[in-house]
């Protein structure tokens, strides 16, 4: 498999840019900038408010703090950090999220490969049934699964959330990977088989590497969903091993039962979204043209 060399690709991109009519390019920039402003505005509001006292937040708009006197303070951030337990919870979040991201990717990749490149009766129907499981509300699964974990004596262990998140994440993972693997060019696999490659070799040498963008996208989403999950962790870990609970539970509980302390949610949100953003940035480099087999087909 050969990708289009980068240099050639860059030339192609340049040529395309030059070819666009000027007014069209202005439209592109304008649309993007407007969308970016709309998308950032709510978050900027939270960011500014996270730096203000609860009294200020209640009495004037966040934008008033953009001009002096700003009255900005780091009090809310230090209050969140002093609350304690966040460090342990951060480690727990990592312990929950990383394995629960890796396992379903492998399991889904095997199934997706079978669904896209192996023939068996009832394939499409089975596949659609798998995708249809996306609609199952997780809350309806809690009771029987927790019962099972309890009987096995593993309730509260990290293992339970790894397994559960794998199960819950598979329908989407299989859907996404099958769609991508299914669009890979048939010739690649045919020539590999002619060269005597086994399905395992074809999968590991061809299908997996060519699916890197889809796997990267999947890894990002699975990571995010689990990182931001509160309920699954609370149900499977909370009753027996609260010391295993992730950041989301600790953060939600910065607020007391009457809603007091809500001004701490903003700072906590920024602390907790830092890592998912790092994951996104570091995986974003896999979304570049030419990394997949798309080039081969053309």
């Amino acid at each position: 498999m050969t990708a289009v060399p980068r240099a050639e690709q860059a030339v192609a991109t340049q040529r395309r840019r030059a070819a666009s009519p000027r007014w069209g390019r202005i439209g592109v920039h304008l649309t993007l900038v407007v969308l970016m402003v709309i998308w950032l505005l709510p978050t900027i509001g939270l960011l500014v408010n996270s730096l203000r006292s609860s009294g200020d937040i209640a009495s004037s708009g966040w934008w008033t703090s953009l001009f002096p006197p700003t009255g900005l303070t780091l009090d809310n951030y230090s209050a969140v950090i002093q609350q304690g337990g966040l460090g342990d919870a951060f480690v727990n979040s990592l312990f929950i999220t990383i394995p629960a991201t890796i396992i379903p990717i492998f399991v889904a990749a095997f199934a997706a490969y079978a669904f896209s490149w192996m023939n068996f009766p009832g394939r499409n129907l089975l596949f659609v049934a798998v995708v249809g499981l996306l609609v199952v509300p997780l809350q309806t699964t809690f009771i029987p699964i927790l019962q099972g974990f309890g009987q096995l004596g593993i309730a509260g262990d990290f293992l339970t959330v790894w397994l559960a998140h794998t199960g819950y994440g598979l329908p989407f993972a299989i859907y996404l990977l099958r769609n991508f693997m299914g669009s890979l060019p048939r010739e690649v696999f045919e020539s590999a088989y002619i060269d005597g490659a086994s399905p395992v070799t074809a999968f590991i040498r061809l299908a997996l590497p060519m699916s890197i963008p889809a796997i990267a996208a999947l890894a990002i989403f699975q990571f995010l969903f689990i990182w931001n999950d509160l309920l699954v962790a609370l149900i499977y870990l909370g009753a027996v091993r609260p010391e295993n609970l992730p950041m989301t539970v600790v953060i939600a509980n910065l607020v007391n039962s009457q809603g007091g302390g809500w001004e701490l949610l903003g700072p906590a949100a920024f602390l907790s979204m830092a890592l998912p953003l790092v994951v996104f940035f570091s995986l974003q480099r896999y979304f570049v043209r030419g990394i997949t087999g798309g080039a081969v087909k053309g």
């Binding site: 990383i98 079978a114 659609v128 199960g167 395992v200 999968f203």
Partner: protein, 325 residues
């Protein structure tokens, strides 16, 4: 030594190793099978881990849910279709069904439409990474935080008071408002505002997947179109969009289902008041707040049934995809 350390090593090294080992093992096992049976057995071995997980964590509980939907609040009391009759005859059923339909239509149109737009447009600018990150940020925000963020957006202060909500702040610049956004139930506008919150979060999802697919389209194909003198729009309609279509379908299906299941935003922001209730939020409420798991299960089954048409569309699409590849 800390038990967690050992676990970490086992999981990070052991699990991928074990899973890959399993796939190699299947080939060894297949050697013992008669040659003609191998192609028929192989897919099942490859799917086995996934099917096991799916059965234990989703299929088995769903079967229980379906059975439970024919029982009353107390487990074991068979009530036939009572739970379904209850829902369709309760006064608020129509409102929550209507709202769920609005969620499906508008969330999908907004998130997929804007996601596609951004994915296509960022492909042509130098600040691609930055622009994509900006659209992606809301997805990294937890529901708890999203609720707080949008309370600041929709915040309302009585007329004459300085406005503290971003949207009312903008309106007041033009001498308009203040509007209590979540109370406007004419034309179900408040439901639309709640959908906007979700769309703000999920557009990034559509964009990331569509953008990844876009990068898979060969440059030569596009260049060929341009050399033939096609305009950018014609290239998009004639070459790019058809190739993206399978991915658009994947993203749309996922977002339709997300819309059906969405309840957190409704629950956190209005608790279904002011005619903003949806089927999913009623399901959660019935099961866990009111303790009527029979009602809740029936609502879950209604959600399951609602996706059958979309799944049927998916089947016909796969057939088409396989015919052309």
């Amino acid at each position: 030594m800390d038990g967690r350390l050992i676990t970490a090593i086992v999981v990070l090294v052991g699990v991928p190793g074990a899973l890959l080992g399993y796939i190699y093992l299947t080939e060894i096992l297949l050697k013992f099978a008669p040659e003609r049976a191998r192609p028929r057995l192989r897919p099942w071995l490859w799917m086995l881990p996934a099917l096991l997980f799916l059965f234990l964590f989703l299929i088995f509980p769903t079967i229980l849910t379906i059975l439970r939907s024919f029982q009353g609040a107390l487990e074991g009391t068979f009530v036939g279709l009572d739970n379904y009759v209850w829902f369709f005859t309760s006064g608020d059923a129509l409102i929550s069904l209507r709202n769920s339909a609005l969620w499906v239509v508008f969330l999908t149109i907004i998130a997929v439409g804007l996601g596609l737009l951004v994915a296509v447009l960022v492909d042509r600018v130098r600040y691609e990474s930055f622009a994509k990150s900006v659209i992606f940020v809301p997805l990294a925000i937890s529901m708890t935080a999203a609720g707080v963020i949008w309370r600041f957006m929709f915040d309302y202060q009585s007329p004459g008071q300085p406005q503290t909500g971003t949207l009312n702040g903008i309106l007041s610049v033009f001498g308009l408002g203040p509007v209590s956004f979540l109370q406007v139930d004419t034309l179900a506008l408040n439901t639309i505002f709640l959908i906007v919150v979700m769309a703000w979060m999920w557009t990034g999802f559509a964009m990331v997947i569509l953008s990844a697919a876009l990068k898979g389209i060969s440059t030569e194909l596009l260049e060929a179109g341009r050399v033939d003198g096609a305009t950018e729009w014609q290239v998009f309609r004639g070459i790019v969009f058809p190739l993206l279509l399978p991915t658009v379908a994947v993203v749309s299906t996922t977002i339709v289902i997300t819309a059906l299941k969405a309840f957190d935003i409704v629950y956190v922001m209005t608790n279904g008041n002011f005619s903003t209730d949806v089927v999913a939020s009623r399901m959660i409420k019935e099961s866990f707040t009111f303790g009527n798991i029979g009602h809740g299960s029936a609502l879950a089954v209604i959600l399951l049934l609602a996706i059958i048409p979309i799944m049927a569309l998916n089947i016909s699409r796969f057939r088409a995809q396989e015919a052309i590849r």
